[in-house]
């Protein structure tokens, strides 16, 4: 609406309107990823507690069950509903498999699966956790650092992408004779489309270059 009021062009208003769902989708995905990474950070304290309890001689199913009944943290909130079926008689294997398929938390799923299998085979769990915990910690730390790096780069890319459009808008407001020629010609669509595609390609390449895995 504001675009239409500003430009008086239905086509520009239509293009900007079609960008709204894409933007919303990006924001939603970003929020989900942030929440997922927060939960994974919390899961580290869960694993350390698990290590402590197993070290004290508490069995793996009992330790997981007890920890899932704590009332703090989003990770526990994700885990605890699944343990209702454990109380009804489902095996721990089934509960963990359900957690893996529903949560989408790769970082914590792998150690839980490994621990459950190791427990079933009668292997000592403390050495497994001692080997896995530094790795998970390193991975969380690396994700945090890459996330921070990505935020900085995203801010730079956003500003770089915004500046020409901003200057164009300022020019159009104060010196419309320069911009009128562009808006009236089909070059505007060709140029605008090319720039958007080129910048999109740049963003994708930066994303590819900065990701670790």
């Amino acid at each position: 609406m504001s675009t239409w009021l500003w430009t008086r062009s239905i086509s520009i208003a239509f293009v900007s309107l079609s960008l709204v769902p894409i933007l919303l989708k990006i924001i939603l995905k970003r929020k989900q990823e942030t929440s997922k990474s927060e939960i994974e950070k919390e899961s580290l304290s869960f694993l350390y507690s698990l290590r402590g309890m197993i070290g004290l001689g508490i069995t793996f199913p009992r330790a997981v069950y007890q920890l899932s009944h704590q009332r703090q943290g989003r990770f526990i909130k994700t885990l605890s509903p699944l343990f209702h079926s454990f109380e009804k008689g489902d095996s721990l294997e089934m509960v963990i498999q359900r957690f893996v398929s529903r949560s989408g938390l790769d970082l914590i799923s792998r150690p839980l699966v490994l621990m459950e299998i190791a427990h079933r085979k009668g292997l000592p769990l403390c050495p497994i956790l001692d080997g896995l915990l530094p790795l998970i910690e390193l991975e969380i730390q690396s994700r945090e650092r890459i996330e921070l790096l990505n935020k900085n780069i995203a801010a730079q890319a956003f500003l770089s992408a915004l500046i020409p459009w901003l200057i164009g808008a300022v020019m159009w407001t104060f010196q419309p004779q320069f911009m009128d020629g562009l808006f009236k010609s089909y070059y505007f669509w060709v140029l605008g489309g090319f720039v958007l595609i080129w910048e999109g390609l740049g963003i994708w390449l930066i994303y590819q270059k900065t990701r670790f895995y």
Partner: protein, 168 residues
Amino acid sequence: MAYLPKNPVLLKSKTQEKRIRRKHLLNFFELLGVYLQVGYELSYAWNQVLTVTGRAGEIFVLEELEFDSDTQPLSSFLEEQSQKFSQRSYRVFFEVLGQLYTEGAPLVPATQSLSQFLRRELERDLEQHLRQAPSQANILLLLFFLPAAFLLLFFPFFLHLQATLQIP
């Protein structure tokens, strides 16, 4: 169609694939060390670890390290991997394990040092990635955003000039 990547949108580079492979190999040796510590025989432990890691979704390890213990002894498989393993720098792991296995020497310290080496390498790689990524991203920013900015800024002037001078 076999040459097409499984997920073309999230295409992974060779470096990223190498990192995933290393991570899976690290988990493999960590778990193998635990099995050996308990007293399992290497050949049996090897297959057990493959089953466990495969179920945990670590497919890269499964691809190359799977062997049939009924048709091929582990020592010859290790020898084969010491010459064929996709990452040359890790071939020595299999050679060392093969030698120790044939000699009947204890394998736990070897697997522990292999996983320690892989962990150190992962840390070094991460540090290097974090050092290099900002400069690489800046080059890409310059390449993809600066020309676009200039194009958007100067094209209206060019059009205006063309109209003023009445160039066809």
